[in-house]
Amino acid sequence: MRLLTVKGLDKKFKTVHAVKGIDFHIEQGEILGLLGPNGAGKSTTISMISTLLKPDGGDIIYNNESIIKNPKAIQENLGYVPQEIALYPMLSGRENLMFWGRAYGLKGSTLKKAVSEVSEIIGIDDRLKDKVKTYSGGMQRRLNIGVALLHNPELIIMDEPTVGIDPQSRKHILDTVLHLNKDKGMTVIYTSHYMEEVEYLCNRICIMDQGKIIAEGTKDELVKANNPKTNIHIKIDRDMESAIVKLKTIESVETVIEEEELIKIISKQDEQLFKNIIQVIGELDVTILSMDIQEPDLESVFLSLTGRVLRD
């Protein structure tokens, strides 16, 4: 079932055309990733979906209703996790959860139950009484997410929720997102410029650049459709020059160079590539010390689409 449809969404800020008439949709129960470098238009897009910004053009349909005309249609069912920590640092974790729970219309025992459940999910139940300003960055991030979960929303929008935190908290957040999606059936829109997060979490990915969606699909679909390169780094004990000459004869190989005592190969996607390399090197009297194969990923898809790396 289609939960949300974005049609021709457009937004300008004075001289900057931040979002240029984009279209996409999300099915119920999906995790949709919006991937792109800083300034691609991801945050502006989700700000419009969250009713924070009014689009200059286009429409956003949530459960068959335009949220431009009726923002309340989405507000009650939306959990919004902003990129920044949007909490009251002088209040305790519990006071923050209670306040935001009330803001979402919860009260009484329902509110208390929600606070208890959410603090367990985000793993801060032992620090609830402490002021938020005393929390670590990771804990604040988790509470930032927790606030958006209190009213058990149908759709959660997470805007780069793992920026600037330690690996342990990051893993906890990613696991929480998966738990919410799989066990609670929540639909998630997840924006990030960390392609490994998007690869790990998302069923479907929209790659954004300069206000446009430049590719959309599952990870495999994106890789296949955009024909990115495979990178292989080989280390051999001797006779690198002969090996380079031989490797260049493989049809799918585009570039072979020697760098830092490694042979670096860039090749088109080719299922026979690994077998062919082993065969060619085996013909020489050398020993392979190491081999590192970098399969095409979203980074290389982005590189292939834009000529730039994702984290520029």
Binding site: S50, L53, A86
Partner: protein, 441 residues
Amino acid sequence: MRLGQLIIKDIKNIVYDVKSLAILIVMPVVIMSILGVALKGVFGNESGSGITSMNIAVVKQYDAAKEIENFQSEAEGNALINQGDVLVEDINLDRIFFEEFLENKEIQEIITYTVVDETKAKELIETDEIAAIVYLPEGFVYDGLVNFTSLGRNKVKINIVTHQDYAFSNQILISILEGFSEKLNIEKARNSAFIGDLISKGVNEHIGDIVANLPENMINNTETILEHKSANRQKSITSFQYYATAMMSMFLLYSAAFGGKAILSEKHEYTLARLSVTGISIEKVVISNFVRVSLICILQSSFMIIYSNVVLGIEWGSLITIIIGTLIMSITVGALAMLLSVITLATGSFSFASFFEFAIIQFMALVGGSFLPLEVLPEAIGNLSFLSISGLGIKIYTNAMYELPLSANIGTYTLLLSYAVVLVLIAFIMIKVNGKKVKAC
């Protein structure tokens, strides 16, 4: 979400923030204490310096010519007068008071006087044209002559009736007249010693008889006395009391500056965006801020009044006037904070709130009389005092100290509440007009 929850959150935020709370509440109390102690000395010693002129009326309740004539007829045998050692004109208090005292160049810089009858004087003080009435009583000249020419100590009583709005000027006037009175008493003492000396040396063999023959009421044991009353009022206030109201009224305005920055701060901390996503309107947020600032003002005022009363011994007077005044002041300051917060949000910058803090508050404090009482300021500045919320606060609190009836403040209460309504209306109109700019994101 109920507005109440938003207000509770806002109050918790400020109560937990010890630093902000200290700035808003403890600082005014500290400054009030320091100023109070410092000004106590200043007011006692520096009367008149650098102060602009005050108008007073002098009511002569005596007939100088007749009293001189009386004195001369009764003192025919007075050796000092007869021998020309003392000229009546030299010791005529009427001449001394007006020509030597009030016409003195230095005194003229401070006091401008007009001699009028009692009815006219009362009319002038009612219409705020003069700061005080000085009554020179019947017998003023006669008693003065007796005192200077004999061992007699007749009471020369100068009454002063002061206008409540000129507390500072009147402090100065009283100090000056006290100086005059003291000078007369010294002269009298010196004169008595001189007469005594004459008697002991037998310079004039009749002088003992003259003194002995003077009427009894001429040699009573009194001196020149200064009596002070407030015009139509039971009480007058000290400069220490005045500055307690002045400081408190001024510091309430800083709460408006604090509130004026609060919503833009919330925007910068991204909680405003989050509130917006939950469906809470910007109107609710600014109303909550209005209530928060009003409550801070009530807290500030209560703390300052109790502290200054208990620790500094300042009497604040009529409780009901203070309670109603504090509530109305707090509402008006809350409304001011509301408008400031909307302007700050619309401009997306703290500049206006800072401008308010560093310029407008100072302007209001100046024209409202927080730095110097209005009567010592040029009239043009004093005429702007109705624009100053702090000035209106001073008026309410000093009226409470004078223990004036509640009705005396109705005009000020109404003006403050009108300001509050206008400020709130402008804030809401700005939200409507600036729609896009006054947003969470």
